[in-house]
């Protein structure tokens, strides 16, 4: 068996066989990078202690022995907790990085949208950037010229096309960037959390476009933390955990397992990994505590305390939390913004933000908490959908029947009964 042929007949759209990717332990992120003198001293030490010859340093397996096959016309949701290997898998399929072992075969043109606005240059005009970004994503100049009017129409930034991108609002730049990517017309489209940036109407547009791709026989794999999206749109879901593919099946079967891996039941406190886009967006959520670590109970106040770090000065901010049920249906949402009054933050400071619901009306049960920090009501600076799974308990003196538990919310109410 040579490495350039699949081990079984390949008739589908994507075939992945024993795909693995490892990174040396201390490499990868810039800050943890080995210093040159460390490498030299380590190599010297190895020379002088023959016992260690040939012994390799530790490896971290970002992805291990992943196998699956995808057929044309499938819309696949790729889920998993942070660091489970989702992005690594997409990067391997997009050829951005090479696997350590294993192979994958992709039929047709592959378009990857690992970030909205890849290749945009702030100094260049919208017109120039459409060409630059389109070419970088893999379109030929002729193709871009053919689709140019359509791209501009879709983005709705036509009048500003001759202005450098840096002078446009970030929302406009993003619409233009997505518009370019949307006209890539690939046979296989790989989408990393690109959708989580932007407002609801923008997301809707993205989803509609992806569905149009799938309807025309293309294959889409998209990574998301948004459970509602997956349940609604994906017939098939792949679940990664610690670099391994642990579930592959319909959303109804996989999503409950995903919830178990993503947020342990008893947690009322979460430390976040730094927002990967923090340098661009200027804000990263650090910590979140629910009810100061106490249990959450129906009918009692509910409080969320957050710590955020700013990297840039930020204006016109709003915060929001959402509680949804496990299907992703939004039940309670609390936004900070009252019109005309927006928050501004200084750069390089740590702020604590808190929101208190005077009374939590959710019935006892499991819910997911989303947290979002937005600018101009649209651009998500940091968005953590489903970051915590919250168990709402009955009040200590309350006893709830199964019937009462089944309802979504239980507000304060009074019944009256009069004989007439």
């Amino acid at each position: 068996m040579t490495s350039s042929t699949p081990s079984k007949t390949f008739t589908g759209s994507i075939l992945v066989e024993k795909l693995s990717k490892s990174y040396p332990m201390r490499m990868g992120t810039g800050s943890a990078q080995l210093k040159f003198n460390e490498v030299v001293s380590r190599q010297l030490a190895r020379c002088f202690s023959p016992g260690q010859w040939g012994q390799k340093q530790g490896y971290f397996w970002a992805l291990q022995d992943v196998n699956f096959e995808i057929h044309p016309g499938e819309l696949i949701g790729l889920v998993g907790s942070n660091g489970s290997g989702k992005s690594t898998l997409l990067k391997l399929l997009a050829k951005v990085t090479k696997p350590t072992s294993g192979r994958a075969f992709l039929r047709g043109r592959v378009g990857s949208l690992l970030e909205v606005g890849t290749g945009f240059h702030p100094e260049l005009t919208g017109f120039e950037n459409v060409y630059l970004c389109g070419t970088i994503l893999g379109m030929s100049r002729a193709e871009i010229a053919r689709n140019f009017d359509e791209i501009v129409a879709f983005s709705e930034v036509g009048p500003f096309l001759q202005i450098p991108i840096k002078r446009l609002s970030s929302g406009m730049a993003m619409r233009l960037a997505f518009s370019v990517a949307a006209h890539l017309n690939p046979d296989i489209l790989l989408v990393d959390e690109a959708l989580s940036v932007g407002d609801a109407s923008f997301q809707k547009k993205c989803i509609a476009k992806m569905q149009a791709f799938v309807a025309s026989g293309a294959t889409v794999i998209f990574v998301t933390h948004d459970i509602g999206l997956v349940n609604k749109w994906c017939k098939r879901v792949l679940l990664l955990d610690k670099g391994r593919l642990i579930e592959d099946g319909p959303a109804s079967a996989v999503m409950p397992k995903y919830l178990e891996t993503v947020s342990p039941l008893t947690s009322y406190r979460i430390q976040f990994e730094e927002n990967p886009l923090a340098e661009k967006t200027g804000l990263s959520l650090c910590e979140l505590v629910v009810n100061s670590g106490e249990a959450v109970r129906h009918g009692l106040p509910f409080r969320v305390d957050m710590t955020v770090k700013t990297l840039l000065p930020l204006a016109r901010l709003s915060f929001g939390i959402v509680l949804s049920n496990l299907d992703g249906t939004r039940l309670v949402s609390c936004d900070s913004d009252s019109p005309g009054e927006k928050i501004s933050l200084e750069a390089n400071r740590i702020y604590s933000v808190a929101v208190t619901l005077r009374r939590l009306d959710l019935s006892p049960g499991s819910y997911l908490l989303d947290v979002a920090f937005r600018q101009d009501d649209a651009i998500a600076l940091d968005y953590r959908p489903g970051c915590l799974r919250i168990e709402v308990l009955a009040p200590e003196d309350g006893i709830y029947s199964a019937n009462q538990r089944a309802s979504g919310t239980r507000p304060v109410f009074d019944w009256t009964l009069d004989a007439k």
Partner: protein, 278 residues
């Protein structure tokens, strides 16, 4: 469905055949990246593309005043300004090319982490943008030759070979330093510093004659410098000067070919790791 090309993801290195195909497939991208470098560089400048000519012109002028007028260095019978400008011009293609290329991959870190295209395109585009500058500056050289009435000779045929040799040399060194710089940022600094030093041991504003007359033993050492031969070949092509040392050029050329092969090899070895180590 079955005519669709199949992309293979595997740990193997890109084959030479594939690299050849990529050249054709990604040529639009290469041109666009060259164009991006050129247009971004002079955006929001008052005199724009004029900067391209200003830089080598000013340094040639300073050399002409200091070395031609004050020190009175021999200049192979040419007007000193022509002598210095032709040297600065070809040196600029080499030094600017390497300087821009060495930082290019790191500068486009966000890009290569998000999209695949052959990595060599980025440094190549950087050297390519220098070649555009070089072409513009050559026009000024033509004007200068005309003003000083230095007549064209059949040596002009050597203009393209000399330029291509320097372009390849800059590309190879640029590729290697760009890839090394992705892991250790020391290499960019090393390249910048090294080029400054090297300009003084290259015959940019002095001729080999001065070395030959004063330190004849050092002459062969001078031609171990990979740029010594190409600079003189370039000057020969545009001015038709009678001072050209064939054995010296041959030595330089041999060094150049080895250097190009080593550098390309370094890049080829490191290419796949760039995105993981950057």
């Amino acid at each position: 469905m079955h005519e669709l090309p199949i992309t293979i993801v595997s740990p193997e290195k890109t084959s030479l055949l594939q690299i050849g195909r990529d050249f054709l497939r990604y040529r639009d991208l290469l041109f666009l990246l060259v164009w991006r470098e050129v247009s971004v560089r002079y955006k929001q400048t008052a005199v724009g593309i004029f900067w391209v000519v200003l830089q080598p012109m000013l340094s040639a002028l300073i050399f002409a005043v200091v070395f031609g007028l004050f020190v009175k260095l021999p200049s192979e019978g040419l007007p000193y300004l022509v002598f210095a400008y032709s040297g600065t011009l070809i040196w600029g293609l080499f030094a600017q090319g390497i300087d821009r290329a060495s930082g290019s991959i790191v500068a486009d870190e966000q890009l290569i982490k998000k999209v695949y295209f052959p990595r060599w395109i980025i440094p190549l585009a950087s050297v390519g943008s220098t070649a555009i500058d070089f072409t513009i500056c050559t026009l000024l050289l033509v004007v200068m030759l005309f003003c000083y009435s230095v007549p064209p000779t059949w040596h002009l045929l050597l203009f393209l070979p000399a330029t291509i040799l320097v372009f390849l040399l800059a590309t190879a060194l640029g590729l290697a330093t760009a890839a090394l710089n992705a892991k250790y940022r020391d290499f960019r600094l090393l390249a910048t510093f090294g080029l400054q030093i090297f300009q003084f041991v290259s015959p940019v504003f002095y001729s080999y004659e001065i070395v030959q007359s004063k330190y004849p033993d050092l002459l062969c050492l001078m031609y171990l410098n990979p740029m010594a031969g190409p600079i003189e070949l370039f000057r020969l092509s545009v001015t038709g000067t009678s001072h050209f040392l064939m054995s010296g050029f041959a030595t330089s050329l041999a060094v150049d070919l080895v250097l190009i092969m080593v550098c390309v090899r370094i890049f080829y070895t490191l290419e796949d790791d760039i995105v993981d180590t950057i």
